[in-house]
Subunit: 218 residues, 4 copies
């Protein structure tokens, strides 16, 4: 039964990789990429130094592979919903996106610390690869949604979809990064459900009161 053995081995190997990456995230988050040592990571993964190199070619490879294993899977369900027909649909979907972002960031706060601090020292290729896996790039999908929504008349005709799609996650990320990553302390006395709801409404309807809404530009 060599086939069975091969399958078992492959599974074991995948387990090991995950186990190592999880250890790497823990150590990177605690010490930063440069201060983390392979020994730390190996110890945290319950392996010896040399074994790490049976699974990853270098320390940088560890960094590069973290998002693939930890962040991407969490991102997949985002924005898989049907095309919205009413603005209420949009609101519901955006709320989902917002809650998704909140969830991901909270879940991966340790990783984001690693990510942010390590980003400047990655090679451009690695950087690109890294970023393409992050929530910000949900922006591209959101941009598509906005464009379709504009054609359907749900959104302002003079909206710049590219800018708006990138501004939206930023509204949330500020809280999230500050509270979860940078300061680890609350900035406003609200829970994230409230914040997400407010943010979505702000994005959709703006801050201006009804009577001050201008006629939109063509």
């Amino acid at each position: 039964m060599p086939r069975v053995t091969a399958a078992v081995k492959a599974r074991l190997s995948e387990t090991r990789r995950t186990q190592i990456l999880e250890a790497a995230v823990r150590v990177f988050a605690r010490r930063g990429f440069d201060r983390a040592t392979i020994q730390d990571i190996a110890g945290s993964a319950g392996l010896s130094e040399g074994s790490i190199y049976n699974y990853f070619r270098s320390k940088e490879e560890l960094l590069v592979h973290i998002p693939q294993h930890l962040v991407r899977p969490a991102l997949e369900p985002l924005l898989e919903a049907a095309a919205p027909e009413t603005i209420a649909d949009v609101e519901r979907q955006l709320l989902q996106v917002a809650q998704g972002i909140v969830g991901r960031v909270k879940e991966n706060a340790w990783f984001l610390k690693v990510f942010v601090s390590a980003l400047p020292r990655l090679s451009p290729r690695a950087r690109e690869r890294y970023l393409s896996l992050l929530p910000l790039y949900a922006a591209e999908r959101l941009e598509g949604v906005l464009r379709r929504g504009m054609r359907a008349g749900l959104f302002r005709q003079d909206l710049d979809a590219a800018i708006a799609a990138r501004a939206f996650p930023g509204m949330l990320l500020i809280f999230l990064m500050m509270q979860e990553v940078l300061l680890e302390k609350k900035l406003v006395p609200h829970d994230y459900n409230t914040i997400a709801g407010e943010t979505v409404r702000l994005f959709l309807y703006g801050a201006a009161s009804r009577q001050h809404q201008p006629a939109h530009r063509p």
Copy 2:
């Protein structure tokens, strides 16, 4: 004239310290804290390695002393004092804030790079101190403006001023951090004037088209 000599010496010493710290910021920004070497910094400061240690006890000391010398310019107010009377006033003021934020981040890009790269080495207290020195966005003031605007009927009555005041700069910071600090690569093909203008409009009037603006909640 030992007193004169002493004074001269003190002044010279202070100059040297500044000179070294400025070099340190340049190098930290370019290479990240951990990758920066004392030799880099000494070279950039026009001194030799050993001399650095006549002014600072260690590399960490350099990091700790940076903000005191470099963050002052960012303390200027972002908002003009006058209370807004029309929504157009608000739009103008927000545009000013937005452009202020853009300016500040671009101006302090190197410092932000240092901050970001040193993130995992900073204690929570140090992180807070750093962040408080960098009033990247004048959230408290903006919150006040929004509250006054709400009382004046310019803004939705159901707006959460605290959340909105913090969400607004986030809309811009995404672009700024990515383009100026983390990626050094444009995310959208617009200049910051356009981005700032769009962001302000998005904040004020939202994304939804006119006919989909809901009645605001009480």
Copy 3:
């Protein structure tokens, strides 16, 4: 039939050893002894690392066992048996020797590379054993031929046969080692037939022109 099985096993085992040693020579020649890894060798032999150790105790053992398997072909005689009667006979025989040397070195280039790369690791005894296994030049035989030729008046009476017999192959080996083993790059734009012919003529008739040939010493 335990006896048959045992015999089969022994044969198989011997095959495996040979297979491994041949792989080792290939890899040693390509990478040098120290740079060769067991993994390289195992891969080249179509086995896995661990299996090598079922046949050889260590990497050094591989080195030690190589010649027994690979140097035999070089033992064939280089000189035909017949005694030369004219200087033309001698020239023909030397040409044969020269071409033999060329052939041998080219044939054993990989082994020579191994030998050369392993040089500093070999004990003087091992070095001698290796060299004696590689009768790269049939110095003793050539010495005998020269002595007989001297008695027959074909060679200068003042020739030192021992020195000459060892100098002759050296004339060729320079080209051969450089071109085939060390540099893998041509030193002169001639093929080996030309080089061999020239070398033989140089050996027999020297470089001086006819009118400058001295009277030979007694």
Copy 4:
């Protein structure tokens, strides 16, 4: 007197480099390039590991710089003599060359062991650089001498100067390498003066007896 200090420092630095290179040669010769450790070399040079890197960028750099410091200076005086007018002049000069080669090889026997074993793993550029410093390349000068001698009628008109110039050192190197480097034991019971003399005569007048010297080809 900063100028004096600078000069002193430069001299000291050059001394250190030589000191390190000499240690490197010792260690490389004893252990081979790959088995030699920086610690060995540093210890042998009376320095600590890190200090080596103040003078050489890498272990390979050490290897590459050895011939420049140790072999080239010994080679310079070779073949600096006046143009030969008689065959006796040539014989005297070649004897000098031969004795020079003997001297160099004996002197640098340890280095040649390093050289030969390290050669295959050098980059092509380093190899080229390396070889250009070795006695074999005296061949180019010898080739020039031979060509001039041919024009002057001292040498056979049908001589191939390129081949002859490279064959000549080979006649000696065989002895030398075997006796000094590979076997470290005598092959023939002669001293090097005798060997050198015999070799030169063999090269100039060949092995054939007077009455068997052919008419040279045009």
